[in-house]
Amino acid sequence: MHVNSTTEEREIVTRQKSKLGVRLFFIYLICYAGFVALGVFNYELLSTTVFSGLNLAVVYGIGLIVFAVIMGIIYNYYCTKYEDDAEKADALTKEEAR
């Protein structure tokens, strides 16, 4: 796994980020696989009009693109939070040590 040996906290951050990444990846994988599975197993459903005259294929397709961007932003938000929290904790420990 990703080893980061500088401090104890840092390793925790690495693990947190890695876990978050894997989770988000599987969420997206399910959505993406859902689209492919619809195409293969229930193709006819993709032609249903779902929104503003658009069929499910177009809405799902554009949705997957927009969803990827949203997930990216969520991932960045939490990763930055983990890193900041760890840094704060680091600083606190140093101060206490002094």
């Binding site: 500088t6 988000l24 193709y43 658009l54 397709g61 927009v66 997930m71 990216g72």
Partner: protein, 639 residues
């Protein structure tokens, strides 16, 4: 297609290429050692890097290929956009940060950070080289397509032109230049796509596309007399001959000494002959376009709507439309697309492009290229799954994308870069749906190559827009090709010669060897670019993705997420991934057609290998890691 040279386009083109080269030389002078040649010394701001990421990724495949495939095959082209973007999720969530912590300059270094194994070095540098070459082919094909209308040059001349310019850039500068060039070009590409989409929506949909000076050709329909299944007479035309290929009947007619082919259709028992486009290759080498020589300019652009339905009523034109209205109106209307078939007529080889009316509802669904409906065969369904798998898993494993992870200072910056890239690329891909459909219904398509859909659409909206878009697309190709050549020269000079052969080159020598490698790869790419003329570039990129996904991704994922992964497992998996995917590609219907053996006679019907080669590579890394566990592993140290 027959093109006139455009002076405006030429001027913009020259300014652009000059700018790109100028930037390269400017930044090139700043660099001195090998670390800046390969990875710009880790000095680039994350936002610049993010847009450059987008610039790297939005290659000819995205701008030319996806738009082109949407224009001729509707939603199936958009599948590429969905898959290409989804691939970034793998890159960001699983690979980006751990990789940044692992590596130095190249993919091989990162894979080898734990093992220091020569087998991995060799396997990884070979895979980098093969993937780069497969990614280079579509770029070169796209370059050739681009210069045809721009400079009125033949396809091969464009391929050589791009090859020569890129070799000059890479051999003189290196990564620093390409990052800024990619940044510039990525930004421009997005801005121009927004402008183009705005034009499309403003113009709306019409049954008679084309401006006053460039009206759309009115395709004629004749009513023949038919006895049995033979056409016997047609008013004002002389019937010459008749041929049936794959259940489609084509009739050769003659008028005033000009021979034309018509497509015989039967609707509710009423037969009619529809005008087609033909290119006749005579035995003496002469080429006839619609029965006449090139200078007569009797060859037309295609792609239009035969029926526009708004709120259940048929209309001539819609006027300006909103984005949703644009998509939903096409869905309710009827599109005419042109399909290709080949016939032999005596000693002549005839390429016939015949019209097919297709309901908009079908055009806006997958299935025109990748047949996946209930009547589709198992093979074509598997092919669809295979393509989606390759696109999803390929991005993270492309060597020229990975190189950018090292051009920013911290993992935090690499992450921000990647997210900016995803947003920029995602926005762009949504626009390709509009640009592609716009090209498909505005009578701008070149039947010989779908790759020019977007630039030719721009041409319909004005010479200036066309010239700028062509120039940016050309710069796109230049930038991508440069990035790929840097990646492959790195694989040869750094991984293979320096590390595998243990030549311990000096910095100077390393750069020199890299440059020689760049020239060799460049020349090779030029030759392949000529060989693959006429194939959609997205389709070709699909292959590069499949090879990358099979050769690199299992190795990377196991290395990052499974502690027992051994160096033997990694190198075996890379080799199996390459061999399996290459073997399937080289025996695919498309290649069989290229060999001249006929696509229908190929050994199998899989166009994309990922569905077989990726699991094989995964299995290999697992089994070999168990059979040959790691010994004397150098523990990963972090720097």
């Amino acid at each position: 297609m027959i093109y006139d040279i455009s002076i405006t386009a030429l001027i913009f083109f020259c300014i652009f290429v000059g700018l790109v080269l100028g930037l390269s030389f400017y930044f090139g002078r700043k660099k001195s050692d090998s670390s800046s040649y390969y990875a710009a010394g880790g000095q680039i701001h994350w936002a610049v890097n993010g847009i450059a990421f987008a610039g790297d990724y939005l290659s000819a495949a995205s701008f030319l290929g996806i738009c082109g495939m949407i224009a001729i095959a509707g939603f199936d082209g958009f599948l590429y956009a969905i898959g290409f973007l989804a691939g970034w999720i793998v890159a960001l969530f699983l690979i980006a940060e751990p990789f940044k912590r692992l590596g130095k300059y190249t993919f091989t270094d990162a894979l080898n950070a734990k093992f220091n194994s020569r087998a991995i070095t060799l396997a990884a540098s070979v895979s980098t080289l093969i993937i780069s070459v497969f990614y280079l082919i579509p770029q070169m094909v796209g370059a050739g397509d681009l210069v045809m209308p721009l400079l009125s040059l033949p396809h091969w001349a464009g391929v050589i032109l791009v090859g020569a310019i890129v070799i000059a850039i890479v051999a003189s500068a290196g990564m620093a230049s390409t990052t800024y060039v990619q940044f510039l070009k990525g930004g421009l590409l997005i801005i121009l796509s927004i402008i183009l989409t705005a034009y499309i929506l403003k113009n709306g949909l019409t049954l008679s596309p084309g401006g006053k000076d460039n009206p759309y050709h009115k395709f004629i329909t004749l009513t023949p007399q038919v006895e049995g299944d033979q056409v016997t007479a047609v008013p004002h035309w002389e019937v010459v001959s008749q041929q049936t290929v794959a259940n489609k009947t084509f009739v050769k007619l003659s008028q005033n000494g000009v021979e034309r082919w018509f497509y015989l259709t039967d609707k509710d028992g009423k037969q009619s002959l529809k005008e087609t486009l033909t290119i006749v290759q005579k035995a003496n080498g002469e080429k006839l376009y619609n029965g006449e020589t090139k200078d007569k300019r009797k060859f037309y652009q295609v792609g239009h709507l035969s029926k526009i339905v708004v709120n259940g009523k048929e209309v001539e034109r819609t006027g300006a439309v909103g984005p949703f209205e644009f998509l939903s109106t096409i869905k309710e209307s009827e599109v005419v697309r042109f399909l290709q078939t080949k016939v032999t007529d005596g000693t002549d080889q005839v390429a016939i492009y015949y019209p097919e009316n297709i309901a908009g509802a079908k055009f806006m669904l997958p299935g025109l290229k990748y047949k996946i409906g209930s009547d589709a065969s198992l093979w074509s369904k598997l092919d669809f799954v295979s393509l989606m798998l390759a696109l999803f898993l390929g991005t993270a494993a492309l060597p020229h994308i990975l190189i950018r992870y090292y051009t920013v200072k911290t993992p935090r910056d690499a992450r921000k870069s990647t997210i900016l890239a995803i947003a920029a690329i995602g926005g762009f891909y949504i626009l390709t749906l509009f640009i592609g459909l716009g090209a498909g219904v505005n009578g701008v398509l070149d039947v010989e190559s779908s790759n020019m859909a977007a630039p030719l659409l721009a041409k319909a909206f004005g010479a200036v827009l066309f010239s700028i878009i062509s120039a940016v697309a050309f710069a796109t190709v230049l930038g991508t090709v440069a990035g790929l050549i840097v990646a492959s020269s790195g694989a040869i000079a750094h991984d293979f010669i320096d590390i595998y052969l243990k030549k311990n080159l000096t910095d100077d020598k390393k750069v020199k060897v890299g440059k020689i490698a760049a020239v060799v790869v460049g020349v090779f790419a030029i030759l392949l670019g000529m060989a693959f003329k006429g194939i959609n570039v997205s389709f070709l990129v699909g292959w590069a993705f499949a090879i990358a996904a099979s050769a690199n991704l299992p190795a990377i994922l196991f290395l990052l997420f499974w502690k027992r992964t051994s160096s033997t497992g990694i190198s075996a998996s890379i080799v199996v991934g390459i061999v399996a995917s290459l073997a399937i590609i080289l025996t695919s219907p498309t290649m069989w057609d290229k060999y001249g053996l006929g696509a229908e006679n190929s050994m199998h019907q899989m166009e994309n290998p990922a569905l077989i080669s990726f699991p094989l590579a995964v299995l290999t890394v697992y089994v070999f890691s168990i059979l040959y566990p790691k010994k004397g592993v150098k523990e990963l140290t972090n720097n």
